[in-house]
């Protein structure tokens, strides 16, 4: 079996661990460190007492105990809870809508013999390369009443063209057409075949796409920043941006926390703790994401 695992060197000369291997291993581990260390460092700073950070700004491990005071400060702030609430709601709604509408369309278009489907397909792909752009879209949202509205963070994501292509390719090439045909022979109509055969068979693919879209929605800051900008419904991604780039919010969190902690937590530490709070949901689903895309499921996105 292992010999079939392509890309792997044959067993015979896998014994000697020479200079080449040392170079390969050191290079890979170094780059892995570069990718992972920033997050680790920010995490460490966010859980160590500020006095220690001032004394040892290069600490890569909290030596004198863990201190969760910055998290207490952040979570005692109402605007953070508000941000988490809106992030969860908009991520849930946008992801659900996007997966249902995109998957349905991808399946329909995968029936290429049906008149009109090719046209719909080409029209969808074209939008990857050409569109109205910033201002025409902005004016459309204005006309639709989406500016300063919560729905500007949800409705425009209803169709995800990138995942439309991936799902269409899946229905075209991966989904066994024999299963569907068997269902038809058993007397199932297309609706029954869709719900009893197609959906259950493609459930793992749809689950993977759902996760990927959910991460994109959780990370989306652009739509609030560009179209909404109402602090009362600001999601976590934008609240993080506010905390990182401006002083108002981080200072007010710091002032409010004074009563709770007995001192004003420094903005640097609050900023790092907020980075960790915004990253945690992604880290939680990351093992699943990695499992799916390591299988090459998402590779189709590169090409139309």
């Amino acid at each position: 079996m292992s010999a079939l695992r392509a890309g792997k060197a044959p067993r015979k000369w896998r014994r000697r661990f020479g200079g080449f291997d040392v170079f390969v291993t050191v290079f890979c581990l170094l780059f892995a460190l570069v990718c992972f260390f920033p997050l680790w460092y920010v995490f460490v700073v966010s859980i160590m007492p500020y006095s220690e950070f001032v004394q040892h700004p290069l600490a890569i491990f909290p030596t004198s105990g863990i201190d969760l005071q910055y998290y207490r400060a952040i979570f005692s702030n109402a605007s953070i809870w508000n941000a988490i609430f809106y992030s969860v709601v908009k991520t849930g709604l946008a992801t659900g809508l996007s997966v249902i509408i995109t998957a349905a369309m991808a399946y329909g278009v995968s029936k290429r013999h049906i008149p009109g489907m090719q046209v719909v397909n080409v029209m969808t792909i074209v939008t990857m390369y050409f569109g109205g752009g910033l201002i025409p879209v902005y004016l459309l949202y204005r006309d639709l009443g989406l500016l300063r509205s919560f729905w500007a963070m949800v409705l425009p994501f209803s169709l995800n063209v990138g995942y439309y292509i991936i799902m269409r390719n899946y229905f075209l090439h991966e989904l066994s057409s024999e299963l569907e045909e068997a269902a038809h022979l058993d007397g199932a109509n297309p609706i029954q075949a869709f719900f009893r055969v197609v959906l259950p068979t493609s459930a793992p693919m749809i689950a993977a796409v759902t996760l990927f879209i959910a991460v994109a929605m959780w990370n989306d800051w652009y739509s609030f920043h560009t179209y909404v900008n109402v602090p009362a419904i600001r999601p976590l991604a934008n609240t993080l941006r506010e905390i990182l780039t401006k002083n108002n919010l981080v200072n007010s969190i710091s002032n409010e926390a004074q009563a709770l902690l007995g001192f004003k937590p420094p903005p640097v530490a609050l900023r790092m703790a907020t980075v960790i709070v915004a990253t945690t949901p992604i880290l939680i689903v990351y093992p699943f994401l990695q499992k799916y895309f390591a299988k090459g499921l998402m590779l189709g996105a590169v090409k139309g």
Partner: protein, 310 residues
């Protein structure tokens, strides 16, 4: 409608396939509304935007509608923005692109499967973090007062470097951070291609006395050349595209000289200065140039007998 052998009446078709049309309909409606309706707004590029008159009612500009195109084409700042966009992309090509290939080759050569998985877990991770989070990490490292790297520089006796607000450093920072964020994920494409190499090829090369460097040069690299070509041309076709999310979250007016790119300039002109017509004209111009680049590069790939990128 004529009822010939090929063209069945519309009613029959819809009756037969109504379920599939129903599945497509919501997505198609969304596509028309959010992707095709805005194309009509491109007219603004040739008009003087007037809030009360809307897109249709606004008057055409002087110069037969090309006033805004002439105005930015004669503006030195526009050319600086274009130069920044292209230069950053070329640096990304020279550094990030080659680094990604090298990384894939190195990951493939790792012997310990457990270590390999660990490395892959670490290098794919940054791709899933938003540029907001990543910009936060970049700042935690590069901040002149509290950043880790500057702390190291000071400890070593140097003076703090303003990486993000100094024109000498901004472009390198953009290229390096982009490479860290994206190259791990992109390396999967090459690893997938490498995984398709038949083990027999390695065996026969081994018989011929080749070492692993020979394998890389004479088996792996030739095998992934089509992938490299496609991704290279994809990059070339995006020479005028800028990584808006990255630049917008890292730059500041202090580094506009080297850091302002087409997308960020269009955004500021349009939404921060409310020059709707100028912004639309700029956007249309770069979009069409980008489209031409894409078509030309796609032709090139096809001529080389590789699969096109379109």
């Amino acid at each position: 409608m004529r009822n010939t052998g090929l063209r069945r009446p519309l009613g029959t078709i819809i009756k037969k396939y109504w379920f599939f049309y129903m599945l497509v309909l919501p997505g198609f409606a969304v596509l028309l509304l959010f992707n095709y309706v805005p194309m009509y707004g491109l007219l603004l590029a040739f008009k003087d935007w007037n809030l009360t008159k809307g897109v249709w009612g606004s008057p055409w500009t002087s110069m037969r509608g090309f006033k805004y195109f002439l105005s930015f084409l004669t503006d030195p700042y526009f050319w600086r923005v274009m130069r920044n966009t292209i230069v950053i992309n070329l640096y990304n090509l020279a550094f990030g692109f080659t680094f990604t290939i090298f990384l894939a080759l190195m990951i493939n050569e790792m012997r310990s499967q457990r270590l390999k998985r660990t490395v892959q877990t670490a290098v794919y991770l940054p791709y899933f973090l938003s540029w907001i989070i990543f910009a936060g990490l970049v700042n935690a490292f590069l901040d002149p007062q509290t950043g880790l790297i500057n702390n190291v520089i000071v400890l070593l006796g140097g003076s703090p470097v303003r990486f993000l607000t100094d024109n000498r450093y901004f472009q390198p920072v953009v290229v390096i951070t982009n490479t860290i964020k994206e190259s791990g994920y992109e390396s999967i494409l090459y690893l997938a291609a490498i995984a398709g190499i038949s083990p027999e090829l390695y065996e026969s090369a081994k018989v011929d006395g080749g070492n692993r460097l020979h394998m890389i040069l004479h088996i792996i690299l030739p095998h992934i050349t089509p992938t490299i070509a496609v991704l290279l041309l994809l990059r070339v076709s995006r020479l005028l595209a800028s990584n808006f999310e990255q630049i917008y979250n890292l730059y500041s007016p202090m580094v506009f000289d080297t850091g302002d790119t087409a997308a960020t300039y269009i955004y500021r002109v349009g939404l921060e200065q409310s020059q709707y017509s100028l912004s639309t004209a700029l956007n249309l111009f770069t979009n069409i140039l980008g489209l031409l680049l894409l078509l030309v590069t796609n032709k090139l790939v096809e001529r080389r007998n590789f699969e096109g990128i379109l």
